[in-house]
């Protein structure tokens, strides 16, 4: 199971500290999803060498409109293993699910974002993972948490109906915001998810990273076609 984190400079904990906490809590890997405009930790490769868990370089693209997002996706696609789009705006949500170059649409229900059956079907067709973020459930309280829970429920029903792929994350900004997989599964169960779905959503980050690494390898030509040395 993997967790997708924001590491310094996009939060108060460095990547190494987040990875150490992830290893303690039983995660198999960490995806770096720093916002594109906040900067990336400069020691991803060094940390990956030094620890037992996997570290995946990713980026969370934050854009004002689909045109800008499209440019950023094109820019980052060849440089990063995982490309996540910062959702929460109806136009951006639609852009992300209709673009096969995008790996994950993050928190589509944040802010005034919304989701519907058309977008869910598009996500399934284009193999774009929709993220269920547990962060507002863990960090939030009161009316705003109720609204985010309502959003999660709607999203869950739409994703299940369209059979769209999904990922789960607690979206930690610091090592103190980490929660272990078992806690996240229990929390998911408390808010109406199947705990197995939470576990498979956490593991999906790893599957996605493996797939993309294979695609970025030299021997890859297209799905089902690869160059063989022998």
């Amino acid at each position: 199971m993997y967790e997708a984190v924001h590491a310094r400079p996009d939060g108060p904990s460095t990547l190494a500290r987040q990875v150490e906490t992830a290893a303690d809590y039983g995660f198999d890997g960490v995806v770096v999803r720093n916002h594109g405009n906040e900067g990336q930790p400069d020691n991803i490769a060094a940390v990956r060498e030094a620890v037992d868990v996997d570290v995946v370089d990713g980026v969370e693209i934050r854009a004002d409109d689909p045109a800008q997002a499209s440019g950023l996706v094109g820019n980052y696609r060849s440089k990063r293993t995982l490309v996540v789009v910062h959702g929460g705006d109806s136009a951006i949500n639609r852009f992300a699910v209709e673009n096969p170059a995008v790996d994950v649409l993050a928190h589509p229900m944040a802010g005034d974002g919304d989701f519907n059956h058309v977008l869910a079907t598009a996500a399934a067709d284009n193999d774009v993972r929709v993220e269920f973020t547990l962060r507002p459930v863990i960090q939030g309280e009161g009316g705003s948490r109720v609204r985010r829970l309502r959003g999660l429920r709607k999203l869950r029903e739409l994703v299940a109906d369209a059979d769209a792929p999904f990922v789960v994350s607690a979206d930690p900004r610091s090592h103190l915001e980490f929660r272990a997989p078992r806690e996240l599964a229990a929390l998911g169960e408390a808010i109406g998810f199947d705990p197995d779905d939470i576990r498979s959503g956490l593991a999906e980050w790893g599957r996605l990273a493996d797939r993309n690494r294979e695609r970025m390898g030299d021997s890859y030509v297209e799905p089902g076609v690869r160059l063989d040395d022998s």
């Binding site: 500290r17 863990i138 915001e177 272990a180 929390l187 808010i191």
Partner: protein, 158 residues
């Protein structure tokens, strides 16, 4: 009041909880218990929190690390786990926590899941992001004091 016959006494499970904070946070059993009740009630509601009946039995916290034993009614441990996951701060101080194990007795819980006193923290001067700074280090983990609060780092970053 006369105590209940054995078969009517409630059955308990004890959760060992590991707690982590920034080194300057000051937590005690009372404030932690209050946050546990708030978190449980906010997530599970009045009925769920009455069912789980969570009580903090043991609590220690010093220099950014600590542990607690939380008593939960048997059969409600998963709900209690979910409520504990939502406990994100105590008196405004951010808290990281994880359930390290559950047992049927306090003693087993302490012996199996609570590690002995961690090696005391060490005050250090470190060079972090090209500046000399004050830091608190323990087991390779280093909390560095910067102008805008603490930064969580490890020996790899120094």
């Amino acid at each position: 009041m006369k105590h209940l016959p054995k078969h009517l006494q409630p059955r308990w499970r004890y959760l060992a909880v590991a707690i982590e904070t920034w080194p300057d946070a000051d937590l005690n059993r009372r404030s932690f218990q209050r946050e546990v009740w708030y978190a449980t009630q906010n997530l599970l509601g009045d009925t769920g929190s009455a069912d789980a009946d969570m009580t903090v039995l043991r609590f220690t916290h010093e220099d950014g690390v600590g542990h607690a034993i939380v008593r939960v009614r048997r059969g409600h441990t998963e709900a209690a786990r979910a409520a504990l996951a939502c406990l994100d701060s105590v008196d405004g101080a951010p808290v990281g926590l994880s359930v390290t194990g559950t047992s049927g007795t306090v003693r087993a819980c302490e012996e199996k899941y609570i590690r002995g006193p961690a090696k005391g923290p060490e005050q250090r001067q470190v060079v972090f992001e090209t500046r000399d700074r004050r830091a608190v280090a323990r087991d390779g983990r280093v909390d560095v004091a910067t102008d805008d609060g603490f930064v969580g780092a490890t020996d790899l970053d120094i």
